[in-house]
């Protein structure tokens, strides 16, 4: 995605989740409403609330949504750099964007499927593992549990 597409796509979500590291060195998430920098620089401006102690540096931004039935999934992520501009305003400058579910329509779904198959083949080959057979009856059994009202 180029920058214009990133801005357009992100606007469909409204909110995103900024992921950075906190002082403990562990990842922290911050739900935020990023806006494209009006100066024209290819970066987002983000209001980081006081209660979320994210530190500047490498960071990510995930945009995602699903409906009440966990369907109509749509997502993409950006990787980049988080910098502090003022007390509460940060800039997030993406250097890589990866499309996820629902982005790019059928063409991207086919790519996703083919990429998954290729990666699977490589994963198994690297470990000299045979391609496992999927126990479809076991999976069918799980669906039967759902149909019977299972609620673990």
């Amino acid at each position: 995605m180029d920058w214009a597409e990133v801005v357009k796509e992100s606007a469909h979500f409204g909110q995103g989740v900024l992921t950075g590291l906190d002082e403990s060195g562990y990842p922290i998430g911050v739900r935020c409403t990023p806006t494209a920098d009006p100066s024209g620089e290819h970066r987002f401006l983000v209001d980081v609330p006081e209660g979320a102690a994210v530190r500047p540096g490498r960071a990510g931004m995930v945009f995602h949504r699903h409906d009440e039935q966990l369907w109509n999934l749509r997502s993409f992520i950006a990787r980049g750099v988080l910098a502090r501009e003022t007390d509460s305003t940060y800039s997030f400058t993406p250097d890589r964007v990866v499309g996820g579910a629902g982005i790019g329509g059928v063409v991207e779904l086919v790519r996703f499927m083919r990429r998954g198959r290729r990666t699977t083949k490589r994963y198994l080959a690297a470990r000299s593992l045979p391609r496992p057979k999927i126990p479809w009856d076991w999976i069918k059994g799980l669906w039967a549990e759902v149909d019977a009202g299972a609620d673990p």
């Binding site: 950075g20 911050v30 209660g51 979320a52 369907w71 699977t120 057979k133 999927i134 669906w143």
Partner: protein
């Protein structure tokens, strides 16, 4: 699970949210999050997640650096009204064992199927089985929590509540 210290509203989030933003650290330490379903195994006090070997980056990241977080910030579909946002920071493991059926994954699988009924189409038809069989070749991810933060009403402008749970919730 230590129910004495984990408030019921936080427990409800773990049980009811459909996804969390699951962050792992890439090679260059970029925290990368993808929406992911999780299961709180109350007996062991850990979270169980999974990924396909066709999408192994999460597992590769964890094998290199176990620091992860699960951020529960999207209540869509949960049925909860005004829940807190909850962040779980912890250490993960992702053993290099490919599983296609697993009792450990059963509760997560059944719950996810129940919440995502249309996913049945991927396992019900010969063509989708052929095209997406790789999706059912799974790696198990286990997260031992060390710190839980939560923000009332999902308002991160307020200071979070904090619970140290080093060693897990068990």
């Amino acid at each position: 699970m230590n129910e004495k210290i984990l408030p019921p509203e936080v427990h409800a989030v773990f049980r009811s949210f459909r996804t969390c933003e699951f962050s792992t650290l890439a090679k260059d330490e970029t925290p990368i999050a993808w929406p992911t379903a999780s299961w709180l195994d109350e007996e062991r006090g850990i979270f169980v997640l999974t990924t396909s070997i066709g999408l192994p980056d999460k597992a590769f990241n964890i094998r290199r650096d176990p620091r992860v977080s699960l951020f529960f910030s999207d209540p869509t579909g949960s049925g909860l009204t005004d829940p807190p946002s909850v962040l779980v920071q912890g250490d993960a493991e992702a053993p290099d064992e490919v599983v296609t059926s697993s009792e450990e994954l059963r509760p997560l699988a059944v719950t996810t199927f129940a919440r995502q009924p249309k996913a049945r189409l991927y396992s019900d038809h010969a063509l989708t089985r052929y095209l997406f069989d790789w999706y059912y070749m799974r790696l198990i991810i286990r997260v031992t929590p060390r710190r839980i933060l939560w923000w009332d009403h999902g308002d991160q402008h307020r200071a979070p509540h904090e619970l140290e749970v080093a060693g897990g919730l068990g």
